[in-house]
């Protein structure tokens, strides 16, 4: 029999005490694993894996809100930008890709966020070296929609399903008459895309109320660009000019008694009536992205945000310290459990003096009995740690659907954090420290005296 087997037999002999102390370590490790895994999930969610753009261009305001609303759909948009501004950004020689994003509505069923965008969005890798994979057909008609994998599962939707949009914001209970048709289902990405419904931007604008009244649109655009307001005559002339070019259909007016779901939406919305909530931008070089962001910062109406930076700041300033606090607390729990193991082993030493003396009488050296006691401590600490690891991951696995529903964060139930690998060397060190004093007691046992007692 090797020493580990002897130690294991001794641990089993004190079954109840051993189990309780190992379970106390397991609970501490379980909590620690959960903190590490959940923090890791947050980090993965809010880092480069979720986005493959150099800049998010949006209205002035909180950079964090701009990223949270555009990428994660867990914050309301700041405001809107004129479509002309999107076209300006697209024309910028430093820009290689510019994707307009329009948001604000949710699905009638399931309240999944609606994002209006252009077909090119799906041609761009959603994260470095990760392409969208779609089950379905091309996304090109105004009332086409792609749905994320989770949307498909949770709403039991498939290609061909018709869906309606519920208006966001103050009029949250208003359901638009227009119907979009699911033409594709995005394969799971493990990102917010999975819980999003993408509709064609053109169709998005054709929804009642999504295109601005012409006079308001002209006024807002001029304000945005810092141009002087138009007189009434100039405004009327401008409206007439636009209507002549794009037709007079104005969704914002005169829809009472109008069956919107069935009228012909084949008309074109005037660009001035369109607005975007943000623009996803890829630049030729990182320096170009920084220069563009710097220029936008100087202006008063828009901002260009590196999508990583606000999230890193959030993780560093808020989530990180909370995680550290939780880790310290769970480390304290593990430490207290370790003290429990120490007390258990140390208290057993008095009762085990005779057993140790027997082993010594059979020829075991002092260092051998010391090693056996140390091995018992290691078995309890590492055994408890292993149990805690399994429990921690088991709980994350079980809690994943609840976290997704409550926090909107997609959780990989099999997530593993490399920091967990540090747990076992630390537990081993703790086991050695715990085992030293009882081990020394065994080491110093007087064989003759203990055998005669």
């Amino acid at each position: 029999m090797n020493l580990a087997t002897i130690a294991w037999k001794n641990v089993r002999q004190r079954g109840l005490a051993s189990s309780l102390t190992a379970i106390s370590v397991a609970l501490g490790v379980m909590l620690m694993v959960m903190v590490l895994v959940i923090y890791g999930i947050l980090q993965n969610t809010f880092n480069q894996r979720s986005i493959n753009y150099d800049l998010i261009v949006g209205p002035k305001g909180s950079p964090l809100q701009l990223v949270l609303s555009t990428v994660y759909h867990i914050s309301p948009p700041i405001e809107n930008l004129p479509y002309r501004f999107y076209e300006d950004i697209k024309k910028d020689p430093r820009v290689t890709v510019a994707i307009p994003i329009a948001m604000g509505d949710v699905t009638e069923k399931g309240n999944f966020p609606i994002v209006g965008t252009i077909p090119e969005f799906f041609k761009i890798e959603y994260a470095p070296r990760r392409e969208f994979r779609v089950k379905g057909t091309e996304f090109h008609q105004p009332f086409d929609a792609y749905i994320g994998s989770r949307v498909a599962i949770e709403n039991n939707w498939d290609v061909g399903t018709k869906l309606k949009l519920r208006h966001g914001g103050a009029a949250g209970d208003h359901v638009h008459d227009e119907e979009f048709t699911v033409v594709g289902i995005l394969q799971a990405t493990g990102t917010p895309h999975d819980k999003t419904v993408y509709v064609h931007l053109e169709g998005f604008y054709q929804i009642q109320g999504h295109d601005k009244p012409l006079n308001e649109a002209i006024k807002r655009e001029r304000e945005f660009y810092g141009e002087p307001p138009l007189s009434e005559e100039e405004m009327a002339a401008e409206i007439k000019n636009i209507q002549a070019k794009y037709g007079s259909h104005d969704h914002a007016h005169g829809h009472e008694g109008h069956d919107h779901a069935h009228h012909d939406h084949g008309h074109q919305t005037a660009p001035i009536q369109k607005e975007v909530t943000s623009i996803l931008v890829q630049c030729k070089t990182p320096i170009a992205a920084r220069l563009l962001a710097g220029e936008l910062k100087k202006g008063s109406k828009a901002q260009g945000v590196n999508p990583i930076l606000p999230m890193q700041e959030l993780m560093t300033t808020i989530v990180g310290p909370i995680q550290q606090l939780l880790l310290v607390m769970t480390a304290m729990i593990v430490l207290v459990s370790g003290i429990g193991i120490f007390v258990s082993i140390y208290n057993s030493m008095t009762a085990r003096r005779r057993e140790i003396a027997i082993m010594r009488a059979l020829g075991a050296q002092r260092s051998t009995v010391f090693t056996i006691i140390l091995a018992e401590s290691i078995i309890l600490c590492l055994g408890g740690g292993l149990l805690g690891l399994l429990l921690g991951h088991g709980l994350v696995f079980a809690a994943a659907p609840i976290i997704e529903v409550r926090a909107g964060v997609i959780v990989n139930p099999l997530a593993f954090e490399s920091a967990e690998l540090v747990l076992f060397p630390v537990l081993l060190l703790m086991a050695i420290l715990i085992g030293i004093l009882p081990g020394m007691t065994a080491y110093q046992t007087d064989v003759a005296e203990s055998l005669s007692s």
Partner: protein
């Protein structure tokens, strides 16, 4: 294996600070393969003597030579190794480890000798002592006679050259007493192992050719002023 004790003394510290003399043996020898019984009164130093021969306790003075090696001059680790490899010890209270089965208790004797545990030999020995049906029983599941027979198997497992037995029949019933005694004597004879058996039972001592009374050669002397 031959055993030779020369001028061995041992004292214990008394609570009052004085020294209690326990052993003072000028000369004691045991030839290879010889079987000797040692009788003496309770508290007369029999167990201390066995512990000194086993290297568990060191004498204050004197030499304990086993096959020419002076055990008292060896460092503790070397004495432990010597004990594990070349001595067998049967205790009055069996001293089996409660967490281990009969087979594991026997294998334990091998584990500390540095030898590769020989499971077949352990089973063979347990078979020889009539415990083949008790291999996987823990001490608490065995009778006292079975426990003592297990301890005999454990003492013999490393093929020792000297077997020390401290009142091996004291805690077993009359029927088992003779069994244990026969087992010890036949096993030692079969393997040419020297046997030094301590007892205070006259019926046990009467079966040996050589019976030594400890009091005849142990003359502890209280040192004046000590």
């Amino acid at each position: 294996m031959s055993l030779e004790l020369r001028n061995v003394t041992k004292t214990y510290r008394e609570p009052g600070g004085g020294r209690l003399p326990v052993l003072n043996i000028a000369n004691f020898t045991l030839a290879a393969g010889e079987q000797v019984v040692l009788v003496g009164s309770s508290g007369g130093g029999k167990t201390t003597l066995l512990n000194i021969i086993a290297g568990i306790t060191t004498p204050d003075e004197g030499q304990v030579r086993i096959d020419g090696t002076d055990l008292s001059q060896l460092p503790e680790a070397a004495r432990d190794r010597f004990r594990a490899e070349r001595l067998g010890y049967v205790f009055q209270t069996f001293n089996l480890l409660p967490a281990f089965t009969a087979l594991e208790n026997v294998l334990l004797g091998m584990s500390f000798s540095g030898k590769r545990p020989d499971r077949a030999r352990a089973i063979q020995l347990l078979d020889q002592v009539g415990l083949k049906h008790r291999l996987y029983h823990k001490p608490s599941q065995m009778s006292v006679g079975e426990q003592q027979r297990t301890s005999v198997a454990r003492a013999l497992v490393n093929t020792p050259r000297l077997l020390l037995a401290d009142e091996p029949t004291a805690n077993v019933d009359a029927a088992n007493q003779q069994n244990i005694l026969d087992l010890l004597r036949s096993s030692c004879k079969e393997h040419n192992v020297s046997l030094l058996l301590v007892t205070h039972a006259a019926e046990v001592a009467g079966q040996f050719d050589r019976v030594e009374k400890l009091a005849d050669f142990n003359k502890p002397v209280r040192v004046a002023g000590a």
